[in-house]
């Protein structure tokens, strides 16, 4: 069973998400059957070696300074040409904004199926097919999906659904560099004009800790209380739909069905009742803390630590436990 995965890079570094995909591949097949594919404007040599030592059989690299991630079609053509040569049975990508754009584009070019945002992958023993498990309908159910006849069997995988692959030895897999054909670059293709890194407190996707506020925060000025707790414990700040619809935080802070899905180590829900639409975006957090006055609030069903009380009384006390210097 040949498995390949698309290893995303950011600023010349291989992302943690790529090492998670490698970890998934290692649960599915033997190391020599695993190929990493990188398509990147630049990646450091030590980065490639780290990947090569972490249990991949081959590392295939398209590195070209002209590559721009806005040009999905070009990336998809390279993925297709890679698959035509390597013929992987399984192809995994990260369920990031980029991965969830590139993979459907490439799946259509290759006329194959794709399962979005999987949280679990395994091989069905009797058929050898990839079983792709994903939450559906706001996380109320999980669906197990397979791609019986089309190849590759493609899936995007939710970040943080497995620990990153660690180095397994000193000698790495062979690194094969391939050139991007000039003909693929087109003058009219989409371009990235600017890319500005979000401040740590606004970056929800990679956040290990998130403090989220709901209607119980009552007014815009009170958001500061959540922000203070967040900065003391090194967390990003998110919100429910009601809060962003009122303009108390930007839309990009929304967690849930029409917003972001997050998987932090700790999710702290302040004044959030726990509507299904919100739970859909955070219920796979590793630990959930909820503070709410209503003991019947559904959020408590999902919480590891439920604090029934007034958040304006509780949160200042929680903040007291962490000095401004402590991370």
């Amino acid at each position: 069973m040949k498995a390949a995965f698309f290893a995303e890079t950011a600023g010349g570094k291989i992302t943690g998400g790529a090492l998670e995909l490698l970890a998934w591949c290692r649960t599915l097949t033997a190391p020599e059957e695993i190929t990493a594919i990188l398509i990147t404007p630049s990646v450091g040599e030590p980065e490639l070696e780290r990947l090569a030592c972490s249990g991949a059989g081959t590392v295939v690299v398209y590195e070209d300074g002209r590559l721009d991630r806005a040009d999905t079609a070009l990336y998809a053509e390279l993925v297709k040409s890679f698959c035509e040569t390597e013929k992987p049975d399984v192809l995994l990508g990260g369920a990031t904004l980029f991965g969830r754009t590139l993979f459907p584009y490439a799946a259509m070019l290759m006329k194959t199926g794709l399962t979005a945002d999987c949280t679990q992958l395994e091989i069905e023993p009797e058929s050898g097919l990839l079983l792709q498990t994903r939450p559906a309908i706001g996380g109320n159910v999980t669906a197990v999906i397979k791609t019986p006849r089309h190849r590759p069997q493609m899936a995007t995988v939710r970040p943080h659904s497995i620990p990153q692959a660690q180095p397994v030895g000193k000698t790495g897999a062979p690194i094969r560099r391939l050139a991007v054909p000039d003909s693929l670059f087109t003058a009219g293709a989409p371009k990235t004009a600017s890319s500005v890194k979000l401040p740590a407190g606004e970056e929800l996707a990679g956040a290990k800790r998130i403090v989220a506020v709901g209607r119980g925060i009552r007014r815009k000025e009170n958001i500061r209380l959540a922000q203070t707790l967040a900065s003391r414990i090194g967390a990003a700040v998110g919100a429910t739909r009601e809060v962003v619809d009122r303009g108390w935080l930007p839309y990009s802070a929304q967690i849930g069905l029409s917003g972001k899905t997050v998987v932090p180590d700790i999710y702290i829900a302040l004044g959030i009742s726990g509507a299904v639409q919100h739970l859909a975006g955070m219920r796979t957090a590793k630990k959930i803390v909820a503070v709410n006055t209503d003991p019947e609030a559904p959020i408590f069903q999902a919480a590891d630590l439920g604090i029934v009380g007034d958040l304006f009384e509780v949160v200042p006390r929680l903040i007291d436990g962490f000095s401004p210097k402590t991370r």
Binding site: A107, V141, T147, S258
Partner: protein
């Protein structure tokens, strides 16, 4: 400027059921609404064509006959033409086949400069159909637009939030753009427009009209199969602390610090 907006009708209620046989969504049992992000796409399209002469805005929906409600809403909000792709043969289509059918409808009812849709639907949440259509049409795609501005001629600018960056991108039409909530919501329709929208004809297309035989659409033609559906146990049965006095408050603080501290060591 000729724009098509793709809208999906989604279940409103949380009590959605899955067909235990096929594992696909069973829609008829719940009230249906228009996918909120698709309405954002429609609103963006309405703003784009406002000041451009000779523009047109076509709303396209694929689904059961109740999709007509979604299209009448789109007409009331500013679409000039409505197309419903409705055919039993399309039932159970996965994102790949849905994209093939919608791409065919776009080619048949176009040409269009822009196709807009929501970043994802609130039921299936795959967000795959947009990029798959773009690939089928051979067009560029940009997902998650939070603003969409015409710079000049066929050159446009988009801003969006990726996981850790705010990005500004430029693209040329034709293109398919999916939008996130930050792009803005639709205004309420005016009464006279609503009355007009009630009577305006909706074009009905079948799979056959679009060149698909019954075997080429629906579940049968879909590369992916739902093999089973699980109902995960969601209750965590965590520790509860009721804040009744200062001792309870101290307990809550300790439990909270413990939880954070434990994670730190791992």
């Amino acid at each position: 400027m000729k724009i098509a907006v793709l809208l999906k009708q989604v279940p409103d209620s949380q009590a959605v059921r899955l067909d235990p046989e096929t594992g696909t969504l069973r829609r008829s049992e719940t009230d249906a609404v228009t996918n909120p992000l698709d309405l954002c796409a429609l609103a963006a399209a309405v703003r784009l064509i406002k000041d451009v002469p000779d523009s047109s805005l076509t709303a396209i929906c694929m689904g059961p006959s109740t999709g007509e409600q979604t299209l009448r809403q789109a007409l009331a909000l500013g679409a000039g033409r409505a197309i419903l792709i409705c055919d039993r043969a399309c039932a159970g289509s996965d994102s790949y086949v849905t994209a093939l059918i919608l791409a065919a409808a776009i080619e048949r009812s176009g040409p269009f400069d822009l196709v807009l849709t929501g970043l994802r639907a609130s039921d299936g949440e795959t967000g795959q159909v947009g990029p798959e259509i773009a690939a089928k049409l051979g067009w560029p795609v940009i997902t998650g637009a939070e603003s969409l501005t015409r710079i000049r001629d066929n050159l446009f600018e988009v801003t969006r939030s990726a996981e850790s960056e705010k990005e500004t991108l430029t693209f040329r039409t034709p293109a398919l753009i999916s939008v996130a909530k930050g792009i803005g919501q639709a205004d309420l329709p005016r009464l006279e427009r609503k009355i007009w929208a009630r009577r305006e004809p909706v074009t009905l297309l079948t799979a056959n009209d679009l060149g698909f035989s019954p075997d080429e659409a629906g579940l049968k033609a879909s590369p992916t199969r739902v093999v089973r559906v699980l109902h995960p146990q969601l209750t965590r049965r965590g520790r509860m602390v009721r804040i009744t006095d200062s001792a309870a408050l101290e307990q809550a603080r300790e439990a909270f610090t413990d939880l954070l501290g434990r994670k730190e060591e791992e």
